[in-house]
Amino acid sequence: MAEEVSSQMNSLSISETNPSSSATISLVSGDDIVFKVEPTIAKEMETVQSFIDETDGKITTIPLPNISSHDLPYVIEYCEKSIAGKITKEFEAEFVKKLNNEEVKELFLAANYLNIKKLLDFLSQVIADRIANKSVEYVRRYFGIENDFTPEEEAKLREELAWTFTGVDPDDEDEN
């Protein structure tokens, strides 16, 4: 486990390059992987920061049970860029290129949980762009929404809104 952590940290080049700064914050993912980050990174995550503030900085290990070790490095990467003032269109395009629709959704939830406004806004737009041309069925599945229209109600609505059902992407081609 310890080795896994350090390899994660190397790939993200967090903390160790700057030992003189104040105590690092340990973020513990839902699957118990520890990510050490600079306090400045924690500041970007309002939920984490308010937690630190509440404990007067005495507690520096923060469990984030709802965020997996798969998602957390992405969040940290985004926060690092944000602090460095290097959030560009190019960076954002590269950032989401690696992510499939499920991963984008997970990150969106993580951003909401951690209360990172910039990331949340950005991912709202990414999700919107990715579902804009999708079918109603796809959207229900994606958000886990139950259709509570009766078949008659839905048929009537679809007939009235028929023009919006043209040019919709087929459902199967996207999952990645």
Partner: protein, 412 residues
Amino acid sequence: MRRFMNFMLLAQQTMRKRRRRERLMEKKKRKTKMVTPIPPKPFVHEELIIEILLCLPVKSLIRFQCVSKQWFSLISDPNFVKSHFQLTPHTRRIEFISSDFGQTTSIDFEEQFDLENAFVKQCNFFHPHVDSLIQIISSCRGFIFFHHSSGFCILNPCTKVHKQIPLAPGEFETNLELRYFYYLYGFGYDPLRDDYLVVSLSCIPAEEDLSRVEYFSLKDNKWKQIEDTYFLYTIDKIDPRVGSLYNNAIHWLALHSDSLVEVIVVFDLTERELFEMPYPNGVEHKSDHCELWVFGEFLSLWAMDCENSKIEIWLMKEYNVHSSWIKAIVLPMNILSPHQFSPICSTKYGDIIGTDGSRLMRYTDKGEFIEGSSYIPFADTAVSSGFPSIMYTESLLSLPGDHMQAYEDDSD
């Protein structure tokens, strides 16, 4: 849904509440020696859904009303709709209206005429086989205003929200062709009162006391004549004209009825009064070969120079500053068809879109011809005095006091 009084405010409040709640929870947890922050809300929580919905284009939102009853209410909510119109970049299209066939067709024009992805919408409330002359057409915030059978119609082609507006009480008969009056019309939005107005200016030459300035307020649902204001102008085209909406005011070209000096007559939609601006210096063409429109961010005048086969495009660089008028672009006319060319709108890249009555055409801002499309649906209903097409901005907005009447209405 009525719960969001002001969507943006609420979002902020919820965020603050959430933080407070989280802190409280955290305090509790410390006491019980648990250090786990609260679990996230379920994904279907409205706040999060709304964040995403606000980023979607109008067409997707309308389709996604079918997702569930919750989504239907969220997307139809008047406060959501307003926030969406304010926050989401606007999509503009050119709409063609045919009352003969009870349908409308719209195309994307920003980069090229996207004929393959035209939206064709059935609008069953059109009465077939009635007078289908559409001489007057204008648009504002996703609504299209046009003359239709015995009155006017305001239609949001996306939501199909629509309303019939009667002719002003003082208007001569109901047929626009059989009258001795000169008429100027306009349609616009009053942001102060969140109201839409249809404006009608009418006059009989040499009978000033019969001239009148009237407007129909959608909120009050009635016509109102502005007392003691006379429309002392005339126009040198027989057909009724529709004004250009710019800066919360409607603008028409007209002539002083006594001196026949050309002026720009303006109706301020928030002040609800008339004023005039002088005609730009240097435009040497008669006003019957000119028209006002909006080019990019500017009120503009295009003037047809028939002798030299060109169209000049003038811009008022600073609103209501006479000296700021400049001649910006000259379009050559020699490659145009003999029909009269008239601009419709400009694209976000500065291209000029216009029509010669049978085609849509695109010019660069340097006056170079780029493309012409013979695609004009319902070309047979086009009339010499006008062309039933208009640029509009897609929106989900409804008219005052008129929420959600659209779908019910269409079935009857």
